[in-house]
């Protein structure tokens, strides 16, 4: 099973590597997702999910955080043996990876599961048969005024739970060091973002997703260094290469596209579109927002972590998602996108309902919108391709002034 | 319109003194400047006193014939040897217009506290100059209120 999973990843890498003119600096990221080699130093591996678990707290507790959200159909088929079929594909895949012992999932000492949605809550229980599980409670309202004290208390509880596992207490000084260390990621990602904004045609959306997927498990300073090398290469290549006339920039939103289930990237790119910006928790949302600390006392640090990880989240598991709508508008405006594609992961009710609402809002603004319902597997790739190609046709036929 | 009419004004003013320098209001008088230094008929009373009874704040009032524009100077003199000879002008209350005098010099830090003189100045300013500043003040306040209202909408 593990071998099949590896083969699946290799095929995915080869598919996207076949593109012309790819920056050479992507090699580091390919190696990182291929081998999942964590040379982050000492400390037990701690599995995390979503973007809710503050990696800084995990690092301050002496552990190494690795995000386990899986998009592997092989792992999913393992997971289906125990989990019912009609449940979140990511939950099935992730459980399958842990139960089947694939890659990093086989090496974690414990996992932290945020209770963001139904699937995660039940996943936590399934996982508890295989690894120790710490839970992080996510209340459904992300209004910091009412929820901040609770978020902070949850983070303190997490810190205490982690220290019992690792034996290391996350002190104020360790938290500060971890925040500054991990800040390198945001600095590098924003640098790459500025390079991409200037030359959006150089780096494919799938390549950016590769960079982000590598960040799930990579060590911060090495990843950041590789990202900055990529950014400078993007600038160099961008200056040499003019933007193609048929360049169609798109914004991608919705449920995460988890490595290696990147069928949608492949379909969009084959149809001539380019994903230039996204609101996915698998790419931009995990890397763009920094932890902004105002007061470096212990309580101030915890507040800053809570605000970055909870208040700034665009996840549809929260009741108020106007932040997501605003972000889509901002991205369409800044990147001059010609359309928005929403990735509806089948059985994710939250994402589907949110994208239905987004459709109406964007239609009022005259922005082309396509919602793609799909799963991890590639059985429906042709149906998806038909819909995406029709969408691209529609965009190309719009008068230039409207774009 | 531009300059207050010529005529009689009541001039008032306050002078402050350090403790012990002016024993009582009698030890204060006003003199004209230049030439003969004649005493001016003035009402002086102690508006506030130090705990040793000396005058802290003296209120001085006298009548002034405003004949021309430009400042007119007077001396305020005090000391243990000084006695006010002339009584205050009787008709001061009936004068409807009041001017204020101000200090025309800064007393040096080491002046003799027991006796001394202070130069004061009376000036007839066209009132318009004072009122003129109300116009931009009102304009700015109006602009502020208008901008606030615009924000509220």
């Amino acid at each position: 099973m593990a071998a099949e999973d590896l083969k699946l990843r290799e095929r995915a890498l080869a598919l996207f590597a076949a593109r012309d003119g790819r920056p050479a600096a992507l090699e580091y990221f390919e190696d990182a997702v291929r081998s999942e080699d964590i040379s982050a130093g000492d400390g037990p591996l701690l599995g995390v999910f979503c973007n809710f678990v503050p990696a800084e707290v995990v690092e301050a507790a002496g552990a190494v955080p690795v995000r386990l959200c899986s998009g592997s159909v092989v792992a999913q088929s393992v997971g289906e043996q125990m989990m019912p079929r009609d449940t979140c594909p990511v939950a099935r895949a992730t459980f399958g990876a842990v139960a089947g012992g694939f890659g990093l999932a086989s090496r974690v000492r414990a996992v932290v599961v945020p209770t963001s949605c139904d699937a995660k809550r039940r996943l936590a229980e399934f996982l508890s048969d295989y690894v120790p599980v710490l839970s992080l409670s996510i209340p459904p309202r992300n209004d910091y005024r009412t929820e901040l004290p609770y978020w902070v208390s949850e983070l303190e509880r997490l810190a205490e739970g982690l220290s019992r596992i690792t034996g290391v207490t996350p002190t104020r000084a360790r938290l500060e060091a971890a925040i500054l260390r991990r800040r390198a990621r945001q600095d590098a990602f924003r640098d790459l973002g500025r390079a991409r904004l200037r030359y959006p045609h150089v780096l494919a959306g799938s390549d950016l997703a590769l960079v982000a997927a590598a960040a799930f498990a990579a060590e911060s300073s090495r990843w950041a260094e590789a990202t900055r090398r990529l950014a400078s290469e993007v600038r160099t290549l961008g200056e040499a290469r003019p933007r193609p006339a048929d360049f169609v920039p798109l914004v991608l939103t919705g449920a995460p596209l988890l490595w290696p289930a990147w069928k949608l990237y492949d379909v969009i790119q084959s149809a001539g579109g380019s994903v230039v910006a996204d609101t996915l928790c698998s790419v931009t949302q995990g890397l763009d927002d920094p932890v902004q600390v105002d007061d470096w006392s212990r309580a101030g640090i915890m507040r800053a972590l809570a605000l970055r990880y909870f208040a700034a989240s665009l996840c549809p598991c929260f009741m108020d998602t106007t932040a997501l709508t605003d972000r889509v508008f901002e991205l369409v405006h800044d990147w001059k996108a010609q359309g928005v594609v929403a990735h509806n992961l089948r059985l994710c009710q939250l994402a589907e309902m949110q994208s239905a609402r987004l459709r109406h809002i964007l239609r009022d603004k005259g922005i082309p919108f396509l919602a793609v319902d799909t799963e991890l597997g590639t059985e429906d790739v042709e149906q998806v391709r038909v819909r995406v190609e029709a969408f691209m046709e529609m965009i190309r036929e719009r008068p230039c002034a409207q774009r | 319109m531009l300059a207050p009419a010529a005529g009689a004004y009541a001039v008032k003013g306050f002078c402050a003194f350090a403790p012990g320098s002016v024993a009582s209001a009698e030890n204060l008088r006003m003199l004209t400047v230049g030439g003969t230094c004649e005493e001016v008929s003035a009402t002086v009373h102690a508006a506030a006193s130090w705990t040793d009874g000396s005058v802290k704040l003296a209120e001085i009032a006298f009548a002034f014939e405003a004949g021309r524009d430009g400042p007119t100077y007077f001396w305020v003199e005090w000391g243990s040897q000084v006695r006010r000879a002339k009584p205050g002008p009787a008709a001061l209350q009936s004068l409807s217009q009041t001017l204020y005098f101000e200090e025309a010099e800064v007393p040096s830090p080491d002046f003799d506290l027991g006796a001394g003189t202070l130069l004061v100045r009376v000036e007839r300013h066209p009132d318009l100059w004072y009122y003129a500043y109300f116009v931009p003040t009102a304009a700015i306040l109006g602009l502020l209120v208008w901008r606030k209202a615009r924000l509220g909408r």
């Binding site: 992300n142 910091y144 005024r145 104020r172 500054l180 800040r183 390198a184 945001q186 600095d187 924003r190 640098d191 950041a224 927002d289 920094p290 902004q292 105002d294 007061d295 470096w296 006392s297 212990r298 101030g300 605000l307 970055r308 700034a312 665009l314 932040a323 605003d326 508008f329 901002e330 405006h333 | 008032k12 003013g13 306050f14 002078c15 402050a16 350090a18 403790p19 506030a48 705990t51 802290k56 704040l57 204020y100 101000e102 200090e103 800064v106 040096s108 830090p109 000036e123 300013h125 009132d127 004072y130 009122y131 500043y133 109300f134 003040t137 306040l141 602009l143 901008r147 606030k148 924000l151």
Partner: protein
């Protein structure tokens, strides 16, 4: 790693502190006493050498260099008279007592209104020496990694009401003791807010003068001395533990705050760029959260905001928050790298 607006603000605060407190010495040494240029306005019915308490020994010559009242806490008790005359509360109090005809104050009022309108409560955030001292206390607390105290919106509103409750009685008492029947009490109750303001205790210390610290000659002055110590204690505690919570209480700040909304110095927000991270609310020393909370408003001026611009520095989204003056942009929020 200091934020750029923080560097600018500290520089202005320290320069303003030095100028307000010691500027009087410097300017008078160079020029002698100067009144406001252009108008030789009389001092009106009052003399600025008047002092209520015997303990505060005013030597003649303790006059400010510029006879006007800027919108900050330019205290009249600055050593050597200070650069400016006094704060606006003092101006109201003193002239209510002496019944100065309004026309003699028109120039000072105009200048105050002009400056307060142009810069709103930025005078509190960038110039006020009490604010500078307080921010130094805050800096000490941050060095020690002690967290600051949190105050609810209700508490802040209550403080603002108390601020009115300080200003109104101050003006009422000032008006009363100008009446002939009450003049014997003038020496005790002249400038009622000045009697308890922490500036009266703190500013003279910078000139090495301790005479304002205590006066026990009689019951009223003893009471006021003790009251001023209590207020000073509250001031120090409030600034050390509570960032700028004191500024919600200050009556000078209250007068400035009337000019904030509608000032051409505007704090603006581009709503679509906000990710609701609330870093601005976390950073605000006045404890305000309107920057993150207000939806769909471009201009965010609030009476409580001292325009310290920590929110703009804290905002991690490019071009989300900006400061404009008469529509011209001065700064905007920008993501700043910590690792270069």
């Amino acid at each position: 790693m200091m934020r750029p607006t923080a560097v600018a603000r500290w520089s202005v605060q320290i320069a303003a502190f030095g100028l307000l407190i010691y500027g009087g010495f410097l300017v008078k040494a160079a020029l002698g006493r100067s009144v406001l240029p252009g108008v030789s306005a009389p001092a009106g019915a009052y003399s600025s050498n008047t002092l209520p308490q015997q303990s505060i020994a005013w030597a003649p010559g303790d006059e400010p260099a510029f006879n006007f009242y800027p919108p900050g806490a330019a205290c009249r008790f600055n050593p050597g008279g200070g650069l400016f005359k006094a704060c606006i509360v003092h101006m109201f109090s003193e002239n209510l007592t002496w019944r100065t005809p309004l026309k003699y104050l028109s120039l000072y009022l105009f200048l105050f209104v002009l400056l307060a309108f142009l810069f709103g409560r930025a005078w509190c955030g960038w110039i006020c020496p009490l604010g500078t001292l307080g921010d130094a206390l805050t800096g000490l607390r941050r060095l020690l990694h002690i967290d600051h105290a949190d105050f609810s919106g209700g508490f802040r509103k209550a403080l603002r009401i108390c601020s009115y409750g300080i200003l109104a009685p101050t003006l009422a008492v000032s008006a009363f003791i100008g009446m002939p029947a009450f003049t014997p009490y003038q020496c005790y109750l002249f400038l009622p807010y000045c009697q308890v303001c922490p500036a009266r205790l703190l500013c003279p210390l910078f000139g090495g003068r301790t005479s304002t610290l205590a006066d026990f000659t009689n019951g009223i002055s003893s009471f006021l001395s003790i009251a001023s110590w209590v207020v000073l204690g509250l001031f120090v505690a409030a600034f050390f533990l509570g960032r700028r919570i004191w500024c919600h209480l200050c009556p000078i700040g209250l007068v400035n705050s009337w000019f904030n909304r509608g000032s051409p110095l505007e704090l603006r927000k581009d709503q679509v760029r906000c990710n609701r991270c609330a870093a601005c609310a976390d950073a605000c020393p006045m404890g305000l959260d309107h920057v993150v909370r207000k939806k769909g408003k471009a201009v965010l001026n609030e009476p409580g905001c001292v325009l310290c611009l920590r929110c703009v520095d804290a905002c991690p989204r490019d071009s989300c928050l900006s400061v404009t003056f008469w529509g011209k942009q001065l700064i905007q929020s920008k993501y700043r790298e910590t690792h270069s």
